[in-house]
Amino acid sequence: MNAFQRIAIIVGYEWRRAIAKKKFLVLLILALALQVGLFALFYYFFTNPPPGFTVIGPSLEEVKAMMWLVGVLGPQSLFIPLIAIVIAGGSMSEEYERGTADILLSKPITKIEYMTGKFLGGLSLLGFVIALTTTLGATLAYGLFGPQESIQFVPVIYLVLLYANMLFFSMAFMFSEVFRRTTLSILAAIGILVASLFIDGILSTMYFISGGEQLYLEVSKWLPNWSVSNLPSFVASELITAPESPFVSMPGGDIQLAAAIIAVYTITSILIAALKLVKSDVTKRTS
């Protein structure tokens, strides 16, 4: 057996672990229900527009054809990062908490292979969840609002979503190995996500109050949520340049910067996790 085979076995283990546990199924169902709920709301709104409602900018008809973007990008700002955190936050720690790390790491596998398998296993699970929400979003858009424009970009945007979500995924994964406690890891990562959204809010308020002081914007870009929630829409507005697109009016952003920031956070987190795993004892039972 080579390293790839050993890593693949752990990836398979992560999947079986997730499927065997109800937590993952609950999350999945929740993600899908949220998507359906979102569309039901929009559909209701479109079919029964409130009296006196007028659309500024693109017409309602034009927006309808781009509704798939709502389904694909909608869950990105909060819900998908949360799922990423929940999957990764228990990935390493649960084995310590349940005392099952011993039986895994006393097998012919290196710690790094084990960690890589865990990481890729969790990431592929997340990929699966995003694929489901994306597909469901696009399908619902088509079913409820008729033919969709530029829908051929769904696969690319899907990949960008997966890439962007590596940030909170890796961060929670790192906490999971460093703290070796699932609840603590998940709370820490969620704390960072929420704090980041909050600080982002303050900074943009300051930006407006100060009458466009660039410094506030520059700083906010380094908050973890900025790149995660913006990269997919930056890419979308770059790809979709049809005149009827609601993104025509939306300013594109610095795709490279966002991608680089995500890479920095992700790689740093992975390195810290690997260092901790290699340098420390395998804990027997922490719960």
């Binding site: 057996m1 085979q5 050993r6 076995i9 398979g12 283990y13 079986r16 672990r17 065997a20 546990k21 349940r98 005392g99 099952t100 011993d102 039986i103 790491l105 006393s106 097998k107 012919p108 596998i109 290196t110 710690k111 340098k279 420390s280 004892d281 395998v282 027997k284 039972r285």
Partner: protein, 312 residues
């Protein structure tokens, strides 16, 4: 030692924070040995075993399993090793079969080989009817049995077990004791930590004793008994003990001393020899009626307790 040892532990020192759990522990286990690792609670047995497997980082010292350091190259060192941990905690969401199958995969067993192995092992540990049930539903003893099956999934050359039969019923304990003997006859090397001294005495060829992180004995089991036996004693129970009988026994040149208590005699011998024949004929000469006569050889337990005293 005739051949190259399979397990070598040299000057192993391990701290938990400021606490020194292992203090320069050394021993070697030869091929085909059944090595009993003894010590009171908190002596450092589990710490030794988990360091041997590379799960804990030693502060000093080195481990070799088949000449490879498992912390540096676990893939090589652990390929033909089986490990059953102390109070095993297994993946409760799997069934016994699923977990065996997964562990078989980790050792690179092919699908068909795994299938056969799973059936064979479940039979061996007496879980044939539980293979398809979730481990979360197993009793403590059943988890322990499955853990032993898992340790055997790769047909290991070296088997390391941390108190494997603790919590098992007497029948299962006897069953596994026989199993360990069978495995040892097949040429496997077995390292077993235990508190059950009579069990160790029955199956082990070698013994290591640890107390407060220090080795207090390491050698063949015959030697343990020899080392810690100061004296052999014959205990006799008679219908009636007379004074003349006692003084006659005391006069024998191989008798050190005789103590009596009601109808019992405790005859301490000068030599480490089975002198029951001589003693019984002497008693018979004085019209004594023997009810029982035992040569009280030192047990491993006595030796163990003495070793611990010496080590403190």
């Amino acid at each position: 030692m005739a051949s190259q040892p399979i397990i070598t532990v040299s000057s192993l020192t391990k701290y938990y924070g400021d606490f020194k759990a292992l203090d320069s522990v050394s021993f070697a286990v030869g091929k085909g040995w059944v090595y009993g690792y003894l010590g009171p609670n908190g002596a450092g047995k589990t710490t030794t075993i988990r360091t041997m497997l590379g799960l804990l980082k030693p502060d000093q010292g080195e481990i070799q399993i088949a000449s490879i350091n498992p912390a540096k190259d676990p893939v090589q060192a652990l390929q033909s090793l089986g490990y059953a941990s102390e109070l095993p905690t297994l993946q409760t969401f799997f069934t016994g079969e699923q977990l065996l199958d997964f562990m078989g995969k980790m050792f690179g067993l092919a699908t068909q080989a795994r299938k056969e192995k799973i059936k064979q092992l479940l039979d061996l540990v007496g879980l044939e009817e539980w293979g398809d049930k979730k481990i979360g539903k197993y009793s403590k003893g059943m988890v322990q049995r499955l853990s032993l099956a898992l340790a055997l999934v790769n047909d290991p050359m070296v088997l390391i077990m941390d108190e494997p039969t603790i919590g098992m019923d007497p029948e299962a304990t006897a069953h596994f004791r026989n199993l360990f003997t069978t495995l040892s006859k097949q040429g496997k090397t077995i390292f077993i930590s235990s508190h059950l001294l009579d069990e160790v005495q029955r199956i082990c060829t070698h013994v290591g004793m640890i107390n407060r992180g220090r080795m207090v004995f390491d050698g063949p089991i015959t030697q343990v008994l020899e080392t810690f036996t100061q004296q052999w004693v014959i205990e006799a129970e008679l219908k009636k003990v007379t004074k003349t009988m006692i003084s006659a026994l005391k006069k024998l040149d191989y008798v050190q001393d005789v103590k009596s208590e009601e109808n019992k005699l405790r005859i301490e011998l000068k030599e480490k020899k089975d002198l029951r024949g001589e003693i019984s004929s002497e008693i018979f000469k004085h019209k004594g009626v023997l009810l029982s006569l035992n040569l009280h050889q030192i047990t491993l337990e006595d030796a163990y307790l003495r070793a611990l005293k010496g080590g403190q």
